[in-house]
């Protein structure tokens, strides 16, 4: 037992002086996971927001054949430009990226619409272009809205209740609560915790085994009168200590903030102890980062 503790104490202390171990255990471990999560979230938010806000524009060939449809689109904020393409030219323009989408009104459009037959339209878009695919889906949505409006008007004109066309109405009822939604985030968090512990212990584990051999200090170590397994137990213990250090730095601030936010969402009373723990842990992590920054700033290599 004594030998295990000796090895543990030495590995722990030695690695406190090893910049790579500290960087991995105290900085990368606790911060990389949450940063990745936050980065992924904000990227998704950015993309979602950007798409819905972007003004929709469409180039229309033979717009004079469907003035009411164009009026409807303009009323819904679509910028309509008139172009003079035939089918081949429209195809080429979209493929070359000059237009995101081209709407071609068929010459039969007005006649078929007038006689109550399905009226043909051609929408040219490049489905392999992700940004353009979003736009054409929004445009198609608007055109379908217009189409269903016409349909309902036709039914009403024939004295039929448009509700005839909706025999079934499905209602989505979301029973999730803030707590159950937070389980989703907690699930991600468990991966983060694994990742953090891995980062925390990884460098020490490498350094204490393969590194020891590379440095040539393994052979003298094996000549001390201590059973070999005790030596490795001590090293494993030191690795665990760094993993726990890393975990405490990451998990306590993150988890406590998570619980506080869920409590806030549920409009519960926040226990003062929880708030103190969360604030304390977060500030401790911040203080550690400040100390590290101070140390890095003192280096001679700062000037480059």
């Amino acid at each position: 037992m004594h030998a295990i503790l000796t090895v543990f104490a030495k590995e722990f202390r030695e690695n406190l002086r090893e910049r790579r171990t500290l960087l991995s255990a105290l900085i990368l471990g606790p911060l990389l996971g949450p940063l990745l999560l936050a980065g992924g979230l904000s990227l998704r938010l950015d993309r979602g927001a950007g798409e819905a806000d972007r003004p929709l524009s469409v180039a229309v060939a033979h717009g004079e054949r469907a003035p009411n449809l164009l009026g409807f689109l303009r009323a819904h904020g679509v910028t309509v430009t008139t172009v003079d393409y035939d089918a081949a030219a429209a195809r080429a323009a979209v493929r070359a990226g000059r237009e995101h989408q081209v709407l071609e009104i068929d010459e039969d459009f007005a006649r078929r619409l007038g006689t109550g037959l399905p009226a043909p339209l051609q929408l040219y878009a490049d489905a392999s272009d992700l940004a353009a695919a979003g736009e054409s889906a929004r445009l198609r949505g608007l055109i379908e809205q217009y189409s269903s409006l016409l349909g309902r008007l036709r039914l009403a004109a024939r004295g039929i209740d448009p509700l005839v066309l909706a025999p079934i109405a499905v209602q989505d009822i979301d029973v999730s609560t803030p707590a159950s939604r937070s389980v989703l985030i907690l699930g991600t968090l468990s991966y983060l915790i694994l990742f953090t512990m891995l980062m925390g212990g990884m460098y020490l584990a490498i350094d204490a085994t393969a590194g020891e051999r590379e440095r040539g200090s393994l052979e003298p170590l094996l000549t001390v009168p201590v059973p070999r397994q005790r030596l490795i137990y001590g090293k494993i213990l030191a690795t665990c200590a760094y993993m726990i250090l890393s975990l405490v730095l990451m998990a306590v601030p993150s988890l406590s903030q998570h619980f506080l936010i869920t409590s806030l969402l549920r409009a519960e009373v926040l226990p003062a102890g929880w708030v103190a723990l969360s604030v304390g842990a977060t500030l401790a992590l911040a203080a550690l980062l400040v100390v590290v920054a101070g140390g890095l700033y003192r280096r001679e290599a700062l000037l480059g």
Partner: protein
């Protein structure tokens, strides 16, 4: 006292040590002399119990290296080839760590480390991290580490490798001092001057077999050579034929 009895070790099809028997007595310096690849390091590694012999046994003060490796190790101080030390610890911490692993109580290992720092003239660098040590400083730290538990027997694998003249002389003085205090010193070398300047007893080994054992004079007389080097060349040459 270190005694090897018919030690043998092979790695796959390669027989590194075929049959080595030798005696290194207390109060004497014994040199293990042989060309590169003769099996010197493998023999020493079996003596200090890092390798397990395929055949034979080694006795360290009567403790079997095969059956009581822990007891044997406790009676040995070892300076292995290369002598790596921990770069993030100071020389003193490197020595203290091995003192703790040898089971010395805290006060005893502090006192002993202080003693060794003085003995090996390490005061200047003892409290510096070992990262930037010169070869001489590294070897002295490793030597202090091997001596921390005051072992009766000392095994050194090519200890003078990479040392400058002054460091070699200091090492020689130390080994002679240990011998005069009654320790058993066994070291390997392929440098003739080293062996003839220091050894009371020489064991010549080649291709995993002991060719001669005795004082330098005895070996010279038996081979009929004028110098130890000449005797060595004759012995090695005989195995080639």
């Amino acid at each position: 006292m270190i005694e090897a009895r018919q030690l043998a070790k092979h790695f796959g099809p390669v027989a590194a040590v075929r049959e080595v028997s030798l005696r290194a007595a207390d109060g004497r310096i014994t040199g293990l002399l042989g060309p590169n690849g003769a099996g010197k390091s493998t023999t020493l590694r079996m003596l200090y119990t890092v390798l397990r012999p395929d055949g034979g046994d080694a006795l360290i003060d009567g403790c079997s290296a095969v059956r009581q490796p822990l007891a044997a190790r406790a009676r040995l101080g070892v300076l292995p080839h290369g002598a790596g030390i921990y770069p993030n610890l100071t020389a003193r911490e490197n020595i203290l760590y091995f003192g703790a692993l040898q089971g010395l109580p805290r006060e005893a290992r502090r006192a002993r480390t202080g003693e060794l720092v003085k003995l090996l003239e390490m005061e200047e660098f003892a409290d510096r991290p070992a990262r930037g040590f010169s070869q001489g400083e590294r070897v002295r730290t490793a030597l202090a580490r091997a001596l921390v538990h005051s072992p009766r027997n000392l095994v050194l694998d090519e200890p003078t490798n990479g040392l400058d003249v002054m460091a070699v002389r200091a090492l020689r003085r130390l080994l002679l001092q240990l011998r005069d205090a009654g320790h058993c010193v066994l070291f390997s070398s392929h440098v003739m001057q080293e062996v003839s300047a220091l050894c009371d007893e020489v064991v010549v080994i080649a291709q995993g077999v002991v060719l001669e054992q005795g004082t330098p004079e005895q070996i010279r007389a038996r081979t009929g050579a004028a110098s130890l080097e000449e005797a060595f060349v004759r012995l090695i040459g005989a195995t080639d034929r």
